[in-house]
Symmetry: C2
Subunit: 147 residues, 2 copies
Amino acid sequence: MAEIMHRVGIGCRAQDIYPLLTTDEGLSRWWTTDTRGAGEVGSIIQFRFDGAGPDFEVIELVQDRRVVWRHSGEMPPAWMGTEISFDLEQTEKQTFINFSHYNWKQADAFLAHCSSKWGVFMMSLKSSIETGRGQPFPDDVHIDYDE
Amino acid sequence: MAEIMHRVGIGCRAQDIYPLLTTDEGLSRWWTTDTRGAGEVGSIIQFRFDGAGPDFEVIELVQDRRVVWRHSGEMPPAWMGTEISFDLEQTEKQTFINFSHYNWKQADAFLAHCSSKWGVFMMSLKSSIETGRGQPFPDDVHIDYDE
């Protein structure tokens, strides 16, 4: 199984990041402004990009420490069976987000695209906290001319 | 073995990217300004960041198509045994760079850090061509407060 990993340090406490991973308003600040359904374990979050996009079920929540989602539905097909985890690691001068999108069937061009794009969104999450302004869709940083 | 992948599309032809992967001057525009030794297959490229940094041996070159490096020396230890490939894929409206840093022994926090940082440098390569201004070290985008 293939995996995308990222690790970014944000100048804040873990408790400042956790709401950005667990509420519609928080997720809207860095991934896509059209986010609905975030809540407790079992809730299904709908992320939309011009009307289409993936759903994820919240399968684990540890306050200020860890968030895990399991892909739900059929969009995009390559994400079926995958999961995403966010692990927060607070140190004296920053909190690291350890991101993983795992259980991919293939390490192909689409995984490579998503790896670069997740990197852009991790930086959007970082700047949404540090500068008050993230770059969620539809203002996201483009990594190619197909998106 | 673990792997980092990225895929970025640049608004140019493959021949515009190839020199940025194969010459000191080109590599200095997006990764680190202190780059020496780039050349034909067998040459050892020294990438330096404040005096220290990795060496890579050029092990494959296909003009305007493919570049492969094998890590050389002992810095950083986790990169020993790894290789990096850049595959260029020209389409009508852009050229994709398919990047892979593979043969990692462990998918750990340092791999995750490097994945995010390679993403930043792929965007630096993209902007060095599209805007004429990349962000190589020491003007690189920081992803945490340890670097």
